[in-house]
């Protein structure tokens, strides 16, 4: 039943191209289910491969072996002409944010909306809603490069969520946030999961570990992902 909803990793292996074969791979035989309607947290030391896993789940990187399934479809096996449009269901928050500095805050949020078949005023409506959630309404006209680090990160999250994606992949979403905003972001991600999205957070932020909205915790160490109980506290 779980196979048919959410993101599933099956025997996922990943090794950076060009690296020596005797070096250990970044990910090895990863088996995981990120179910629909849940928030999953992936922890791990720096350099353990959390970002790499996010990119694999978003279909930005190809696994060297194994597959990523989304809603029962082997997305990682698809050719790019099918995977490119599939990515419209994914909202990804990059660790390095990847905002466009010379656009305004509102225009950055417009980017994921442009190719979708909705009207201009509907787009504006969605952006307005998202800006309110991120607490950035007053800055809609400001150029992105005049924002503070934390504001930029909230903008990156807003951009991932603005098109109401089915799969939300957030890489260190609270890294630059104060406690109040970190809690707000977690609550926001939980709300989205309750509405039926699949939320995966990759983070080593200790504040998240104690956050009670998390349904599943995973730990990434020495290329293997170990899953943990649902909402019963970390092992």
């Amino acid at each position: 039943m779980e196979l048919n909803a959410g993101l599933v990793c099956r025997g996922l292996n990943f090794r950076w191209p060009g690296k020596n074969a005797d070096e250990p791979p970044v990910l090895e035989a990863v088996e995981a289910v990120f179910a629909q309607g849940t928030v999953s947290l992936v922890t791990g030391n720096t350099g353990s491969g959390k970002s790499t896993l996010m990119h694999l789940l978003a279909g930005l990187l190809h696994p060297t072996a194994g597959e990523v399934w989304a809603d029962g479809q082997p997305v990682s096996r698809w050719p790019s002409r099918h995977r490119d449009p599939w990515r419209r269901q994914v909202g990804i928050v990059f660790q390095h944010l990847a905002l466009i500095p010379d656009l305004t805050v509102g225009e950055n949020l417009l980017l994921p909306m442009i190719p979708r078949p909705i009207t201009w005023s509907r787009m504006q409506e969605e952006i307005r809603r998202q800006l309110e959630d991120a607490g950035l309404s007053a800055l809609a006209d400001a150029p992105t490069n005049t924002l503070s680090g934390g504001q930029r990160q909230r903008l990156a999250i807003a951009r991932a969520l603005v098109a109401r994606p089915r799969f939300v992949l957030a890489d260190e979403p609270t890294a630059f946030q104060d406690d109040h905003h970190a809690a707000r972001i977690c609550a926001q991600l939980c709300d989205i999961a309750r509405e039926g999205a699949v939320v995966v957070i990759g983070s080593h932020d200790p504040r998240l570990r104690s956050f009670d909205g998390i349904d599943r915790r995973f730990h990434l160490a020495s290329a293997t992902l170990t899953g943990a109980a649902v909402n019963q506290g970390a092992p």
Partner: protein, 95 residues
């Protein structure tokens, strides 16, 4: 409560005003120029140098007055057939 700035952001957070203005300018300018040219073309085609043609016919001229009097192109009937007009001095400067 009246909040002009909040109101503006509230309705159109990413208005792209400049871009839409650019688009409108590009479209109207192209249409105006295109229509003006087409209209002028049609007007010219509708009535053209009929006076000139009629005088050509009445006076039995062999060539129009596109070139100055005295040049061979103006009076081709006076040129000896052995002379190739293309090489007449002063007539066609570029080869």
């Amino acid at each position: 409560m009246y909040r002009p700035f909040a109101e503006k952001n509230y309705r159109y957070p990413a208005p792209c005003r400049g871009a839409r203005r650019l688009l409108i300018i590009a479209i109207t300018a192209s249409m105006l120029l295109g229509i003006a040219t087409a209209a002028d073309l049609l007007r010219r085609i509708a009535h053209q140098d009929d006076g000139a043609s009629a005088w050509m016919r009445t006076m039995n001229f062999s060539a129009p007055a596109l070139w100055t009097a005295g040049s061979p192109m103006r009076h081709p009937e006076t040129v000896h057939p052995g002379v190739d007009l293309r090489f007449s001095a002063g007539l066609v400067t570029a080869p």
